[in-house]
């Protein structure tokens, strides 16, 4: 994992899923789980991936798009071990590699739903987005969110800032400050650096809408709802396939339809019923295909 397993974002979403799968399999007796967190440097992660494979783990997950090239090299040396990586859609099957799964959350779907919620909750009509790097699921989330806002409230203003870093907490905080000064009363953002922005939202009495992991615990009076990546279903499926001898070749999509994406409200904040109804309608539209969450 690129960051800490309790980062309140991308790494935590996978860690929580793995713990849930472990619990469903009877705890530590039923499933051995080992995690390497804080693997910022790709060569360090590559060493960890190879070490896990050498130890004979059934499934080795490289939780980060940046690990793909290393995984491609290592997977060839361990054809009997199942590997997985994400967010990605490439299993390297076209390169003759048969033991790699991929997973990709359609972040735009929950982004759209939370955009609808933001439009309903904002009194000023100004909404701030704190993005990390304009790429991957961060970009699709932001794009979906913007569309959700503007489809719901045409005159709403969505200010977007990309800090250029997945980990710089202070830059995220500065972005949130800027949004707040511009009048934003609802904020959102992606990556493990959002803790800085959530802190600002808390100070400014704004509402924060989270993504990747359940962020309520970070600021129980501030976080209105979170889009949660629930990888547990995908992990279970990969383990089941691996046990049957299929070590890779499938690219999994996490979506609202499959239950891999969930919108979880913070019960402590009273979200108006009409706002929740609008979110439900948006989610229904995305699932049945009548709403396209990306522009």
């Amino acid at each position: 994992m690129p960051s800490a397993s309790n980062d309140g974002a991308f790494s935590q979403s996978m860690f929580d899923a793995l713990k849930a799968v472990q619990a469903s399999m009877g705890g530590e007796a039923g499933m051995k789980l080992a995690v390497s967190e804080g693997m910022v440097q790709v060569p360090n992660a590559a060493a960890a991936i190879r070490d896990y494979a050498q130890q004979g783990y059934d499934l080795v997950i490289a939780h980060g798009t940046q690990y793909g090239n290393s995984l491609q090299e290592i997977a060839k040396d361990f054809p009997n071990i199942a590997f997985a990586w994400g967010t990605a859609t490439d299993t390297f099957a076209d390169k003759g590699i048969k033991n790699v799964f991929a997973y990709n959350p359609r972040a735009q779907e929950g982004g759209y739903a939370l955009g609808v919620l933001a439009a309903k909750l904002s009194k000023s009509g100004i909404i701030g987005v704190c993005g990390p790097v304009e790429a991957g699921d961060a970009k699709t989330y932001v794009d979906g969110f913007k569309k959700g806002v503007t489809d719901t409230k045409k005159d709403a203003k969505v200010n977007v800032v990309y800090t250029g870093s997945f980990s710089d907490v202070s830059l995220m905080a500065a972005a949130a400050e800027t949004h707040s000064k511009a009048g934003a009363d609802v904020l959102t953002g992606s990556s493990q650096a959002v803790v800085g922005a959530i802190g600002v939202a808390k100070d400014k009495k704004a509402i924060w809408l989270g993504t990747q992991a359940l962020q309520t615990a970070l600021a129980p009076d501030t976080v209105g709802a979170s889009q949660v990546y629930d990888f547990s279903g995908v992990v279970k499926e990969m383990l089941a396939l691996s046990a049957k001898g299929t070590k890779g070749g499938t690219a999994f999509e996490l979506s609202l339809k499959t239950g891999g994406l969930k919108i979880v409200y913070n019960d402590k904040l009273s979200i108006p019923a009409d706002a929740k109804a609008a979110v439900d309608a948006a989610m229904k539209g995305i699932i049945d295909g009548t709403i396209k969450p990306l522009p």
């Binding site: 800490a4 910022v40 060493a47």
Partner: protein
């Protein structure tokens, strides 16, 4: 006794680490056994240790030159980055060139640009008396931003744009530019041997040449050196330039031997850890060889410890930080004691 000070410093750091492990209800003996196993327990582990030791040694050699010349180079991180960028630009610019051109050309480019980056701080110090600690640190920040710009703009891998993932990394370097692998299925590359050869060359430079003698003379006593006719600012600038060149070479070796492309985080903290390795080796180029292996083993072993006993990554960072703190602290202590002794000696 003084020679053992860094060793005692490391042991003290590990002792405090043991207390932290106990607080996390982890048996320190089990954890440190995993650390040792991760660093030296298998061919793969030893190879990983040597892979980590290589950039540490190259940066450490540069630190030896700078510190011996009485200047402090904190800019290793930035010099590694610009060196890696230059090597990447060169090898991607001439992808069809033969190995005999591409590999040495890539290494030389890294050295030249790293030297230039360090040399800027050197010239500022020599010409205007600007504190080199400040300039080298600030040059780190500039290098990071330059890298961010290039890897998200002109140097980004075209495949990243097509796939939409937009990872900040360059295209893969042509295989003809790669440093040969020494052991299959490991990352150990010929750069490790190259680094040891460089250590011998730096030793020869510092102790067997007039240039090295003058650099050391400036570092030992700038006033005495000036009195002897040595142009102190020139040799201080030269020390920073050579130091930067070796860090730039470390960046070149990392992209040609390990990552085979330029990516974010290529410096990996080696610019700072290399200082500690050099201090641990008593600022002697040959002493830096075992010191780099030791610190390489700590970095690799600590990752294995995390995997084996499942401690948070924050503890690994803290443990590495403690080692740095104690080694640097012990060096300051030794220097102060030496200074006091000199002051107490009766003057002729």
């Amino acid at each position: 006794m003084e020679a053992l000070t860094p060793v005692i410093a490391v042991l003290l750091a590990l002792a405090i680490g043991a207390i932290m492990l106990l607080a996390l209800q982890v048996n320190p003996a089990t954890a440190y056994a995993a650390l040792a196993d991760g660093a030296f327990g298998s061919t793969f582990a030893v190879a990983q240790t040597l892979v980590k030791a290589t950039p540490l040694l190259l940066v450490g050699l540069g630190i030896c030159i700078a510190f011996r010349g009485g200047v402090i180079n904190i800019g290793g991180e930035g010099q590694i980055i610009v060196g890696a960028l230059a090597t990447t630009a060169f090898t991607l610019g001439f992808p069809d060139a033969p190995l005999l051109v591409l590999l040495p050309g890539g290494l030389i480019c890294g050295m030249l640009v790293g030297g230039l980056w360090g040399g800027i701080a050197g010239v500022l110090k020599a010409r205007f008396g600007v504190n080199e600690i400040l300039t080298t640190i600030m040059m780190n920040a500039i290098a990071v931003q330059l890298s961010n710009f290039l890897l998200r703009g002109p140097m980004i891998d075209p495949k990243e744009i097509v796939s939409g993932t937009l990872l900040a990394q360059s295209a893969r370097l042509p295989e003809t530019s790669w440093l040969p692998r020494l052991i299959p299925q490991t990352l150990l590359h010929a750069g490790a041997i190259f680094a040891v050869v460089m250590a011998v060359l730096v030793y020869v430079l510092l102790w067997r040449t007039v240039l090295g003698y003058r650099i050391r003379a400036v570092g030992l006593n700038a006033d005495a050196a000036r009195y002897a006719g040595i142009r102190v600012p020139v040799y201080q600038a030269l020390a920073l330039l050579l130091s930067g060149a070796l860090a730039g070479l470390a960046g070149a070796v990392e992209v040609l031997g390990v990552s085979h492309r330029m990516m974010e985080g290529v410096s990996g903290g080696y610019g700072f850890s290399g200082i500690v390795a050099a201090l641990f080796g008593k600022l002697h180029p040959l002493g830096a060889i075992p010191a780099s292996v030791l610190f390489g083993s700590l970095l690799v072993g600590a990752d294995k410890m995390q995997r084996a006993v499942q401690v948070p990554s924050a503890l690994i960072d803290a443990l590495n930080g403690l080692v740095v703190l104690f080694v640097v602290g012990s060096d300051i202590l030794v220097r102060r004691r030496a200074q006091r002794r000199r002051e107490q000696e009766p003057h002729a």
